[in-house]
Amino acid sequence: MEYIISVLLSGISVGGQYALIAIGYTMVYGILRLINFAHGDVFMVAGLIGIYLSATLPLYITIPLVIIMTVILAFVIERVAYKPLRSAPRMSVMISAIGVSYLLQNVATYVTGGQPMTYPTIPGLSATVNIAGTPTKWVVILTPILVIILVILLTQLINHTKVGMAMRAVSKDFETSQLMGIKINRVISATFIIGSALAAIGSILYFTNYTAVTPTIGALPGLKAFVAAVFGGIGSIPGAVIGAFIIGICETIIKALPSAWDVSVFSDAFTFALLIIILVFKPTGLFGEKATDKV
């Protein structure tokens, strides 16, 4: 029983971390119809920034700086690699995103020498607490709570502020939004800023658990978060969050199955099998809207 509780808790926590990354995918897709392949690598860079900053700075400065620097990185990526391609075919922008993804990985390899870097211990998060007799890291408890708070804030922003209204408008129709006087590029930048800030928070929670940052470590959580976003219906924020929790929990359960069954190594394959099955039965994902063709 204790084992089951601890598996579930860690599943929820992993899901929460995927959720923070998945929101960035789904928001950018919602506005630009772009799968931002570089997003997972931005997440990795956020991890590295945390390591290098914490070497000299106290944590209470490191953590906000990680978020700020990650946001700046994402802003610059959008302006340099995506904005010039605004009227280009979608495929070109996607290729540009793949290019940025490899650039970030290569730069990370260059900077770290390809060695796994150890993420700093954040005292509050790494400390253990007993939940129903199971020793659990604080980060495991904190992640889902933080995710829920952030998602509520984000939903409020999107539904009840002027910039949120502009985001909803721009995601439907660039040209008419421009006719309203909306500066499209600002709204797109805002989207990248929100997505990358959440990914930076996700990186702090994730690497507190997994501790080693390598140049390619963003790929797998990035990919799973993307799967979560598609699973939930890409473009939908609640969809991405729910998808991420489902994937995180399922994956952790499979990893925790008795070793005699020998299935735990297939947990990643399971994630993608799940995606395929969902897409066969519901191509738009859980909360995806039907693509409306313009007449």
Binding site: M165, L179, I182
Partner: protein, 232 residues
């Protein structure tokens, strides 16, 4: 007020507008009529800043606004009601109106009331999603949304498109009413009959060139216009 000088615009690889000049005087209703592909929409889209002209200029209140970004043009007081209405279907009616005033930072309540007084139907539906409105209501919302930016010049791209004749008449009544309240109107239409009856001045556009100019009533009785656009 608004002066177009020898405007040439390429659109989709062809020269859609081949050097047109016309003028819109303050307080007037001006219409460009012409067949599909004559370059009417391209002209309005160029004035609105969505398309950059190849050459020529757009002058507004003495200022050269050629090639400015759409938001700068809206800020100067020219707003386009796009073809096909382009209501934000997921936003409520009220949100659609608010987004029309996106550039403004002052209080919108008076303007919202003004739009509701022009279109009482919108008030009844203010919490409904824009996409649930009928075609005529959507056209009203599109006009109301454009008015929220407090335009000096309201440009309308085919407001009668796809609407029942009775609704079309309502829309044109409203256009006259808005004009009476001090908004200059630049209108393009395939429904030449309605447009010319409403307009002070009309221009006939054929394959990117202006071929005829005159007062609305004058063009209505012009034999060439009758034959080509009025079917009488």
């Amino acid at each position: 007020m608004l002066k177009i000088n020898d405007l040439k615009v390429n659109y989709g690889g062809i020269e859609a507008v081949k050097g047109i000049s016309f003028e819109v005087n303050e307080g007037s209703i001006v219409t460009l009529i012409g067949a599909n592909g004559a370059g009417k929409s391209t002209t309005l889209r160029t004035i609105a800043g969505l398309v950059k002209p190849r050459s020529g200029s757009v002058e507004f209140l003495g200022e050269d606004i050629t090639g400015m970004a759409p938001n700068d043009i809206v800020a100067r007081g020219i707003t386009l009601v796009p073809e096909g209405r382009k209501i934000f279907a997921d936003l409520t009616v009220l949100e659609n109106l608010k987004i029309g005033a996106y550039m403004r930072k002052d209080n919108l309540n008076d303007d919202i009331e003004w739009v509701y007084s022009l279109f009482p139907r919108l008030k009844e539906r203010s919490w409904q999603a824009g996409g649930t409105l009928s075609g005529g209501e959507q056209q009203m919302l599109a006009v109301g949304r454009a008015l929220m930016s407090r335009p000096k010049v309201l440009m309308m791209d085919e407001p009668s498109l796809g609407l029942a004749p009775l609704i079309v008449r309502d829309i044109f009544t409203i256009i006259k009413e808005i004009n009476k309240q001090g908004v200059t109107v630049l209108l393009i239409e395939q429904n030449a009959n309605m447009a010319l009856k409403t307009a002070d001045t009309g221009y006939v556009l054929e394959t990117g060139r202006i071929t005829l100019t005159g007062a609305g009533e004058e063009l209505l009785s012009n034999e060439a216009v009758k034959a080509a656009y009025l079917g009488t």
